[in-house]
């Protein structure tokens, strides 16, 4: 899982985090996180985003509030999190116990030519989450850190913010379905049952 850079391989990490995912709902921010969750395995409980940059964490909050018994995981990039970073304050105030936000931090905007993000220059999203009021934060730097993260995601015992410094290499694209109505309808059916289509 560790690459030559000494940092985690993003797709191996996401695969390990999603191991035995059960009823976990996953929202992935646009770009590489969406390709990552799709490479690990497309399922109706995945919402890979194609747009709405800055909104991934808030989509996760809406699901977590509506489905309090279900673990919800947002996997997004540092650039996407930075664009909607105020959401950390919004989410920490509500603090749903079934929500985890995992930032895959490669310190770059990967889809647009690998320009550096603010995290490359020392901005620390873990510290920002702590400042916002996240009681539980975790840095994920080695494969040995993953089981504790996986337990925290499924424990539903408190809001969690985790950040993994990942290798910046761009990986082959694995594209999810692009039709947003399909992505929405299939996730609703998976979470609410077939009657969701009659709402």
């Amino acid at each position: 899982m560790l690459t030559e850079s000494g940092k985690l391989h993003r797709r191996a990490l996401v695969g390990a985090v999603l191991e035995g995912r059960g009823d976990l709902a996953v929202v992935a921010g646009l770009g590489a996180p969406a390709w990552d969750i799709t490479a690990v395995g497309d399922t109706p409980l995945n919402l890979p985003l194609w747009g709405g940059m800055g909104g991934a964490a808030m989509i996760g909050l809406g699901i977590a509030l509506a489905q309090p018994e279900r673990p919800v995981l947002v996997i997004t990039g540092d650039g996407e999190m930075l664009m909607g970073v105020g959401a950390l304050a919004t989410i920490a105030v509500k603090a749903p116990r079934n929500l985890t936000i995992l930032v895959l931090d490669n310190e770059h905007y990967g889809e647009t030519g690998m320009q550096e993000t603010a995290t490359h220059h020392g901005v620390d999203l873990v510290a920002m989450a702590q400042g916002a009021g996240f009681k539980t934060t975790q840095r994920v730097n080695t494969p040995e850190d993953v089981p504790a993260l996986r337990r925290a995601i499924h424990a539903k015992s408190g809001l969690v913010f985790a950040l993994a410094k990942i290798d910046a290499a761009s990986l082959p694209l694995v594209l999810p379905p692009r039709e947003g109505a399909v992505l929405q309808a299939r996730m609703r059916e998976a979470m609410l049952g077939p009657q969701a289509a009659f709402e």
């Binding site: 919402l47 989509i59 909050l61 105020g86 919004t90 947003g180 609703r188």
Partner: protein, 179 residues
């Protein structure tokens, strides 16, 4: 007739609250506006409503998608200036076909005192419509109930962003003591 008008003029926040209950709205996302203050108090006091005070309005657009995915209806309360913050995020509603009703109290609209409110206030309806939102206006207190009901029905029955703009003629202009 006079008493009816007076009652609508003062009770429209209650009318909106009753409609939110009738249409089973469970998630209320908002950036506070003085025009919505009574409605906000009612929603906060309601244990069946999850009130989320946002850092910026587009968070509420994203949250309504999440709520709908999880089986709860949402609404976004904001001032007209906040509509400008929502523009790109509204693409989520168009892409996913998500009910996203918005109740917007207008500034920069009728008798405005503050010049900074005018550009966004005058652009509010255009911007929403440019992003595919069905827009209703209510410029008389007695029209608010029907307009808000239409906005909720259109959103939840036809799966798209909708809005009622509540005119400044109803809310009044903030004059900073310079009447």
């Amino acid at each position: 007739m006079v008493s009816t008008t007076t009652s609508a003029a003062t009770d429209w926040p209650e009318t909106i609250y009753a409609l939110l209950k009738q249409y089973n709205v469970r998630q209320v996302a908002l950036v506070p506006d003085a025009g919505h203050s009574r409605l906000i108090k009612r929603c906060i006091a309601d244990n069946d409503m999850n009130v989320v005070t946002l850092t910026t309005e587009e968070e509420g657009v994203a949250m309504m998608l999440g709520g709908w995915l999880g089986g709860q209806r949402g609404v976004l309360l904001m001032q007209s200036s906040g509509v400008g913050n929502c523009i790109n995020m509204l693409s989520l509603g168009a892409l996913h076909r998500t009910p996203m009703p918005m109740l917007v109290t207008m500034r920069g609209d009728y008798g405005e005192f503050n010049p900074a409110q005018v550009p966004m206030g005058q652009a509010t309806q255009t911007v929403l419509e440019a992003m595919g939102t069905l827009v209703n206006r209510a410029d008389k207190a007695e029209d608010i109930g029907a307009s808000v009901e239409a906005t909720l029905k259109f959103a939840f029955n036809t799966y798209r962003p909708t809005a009622t703009l509540i005119g400044q003629r109803i809310i009044g202009a903030k004059t900073f003591g310079k009447d």
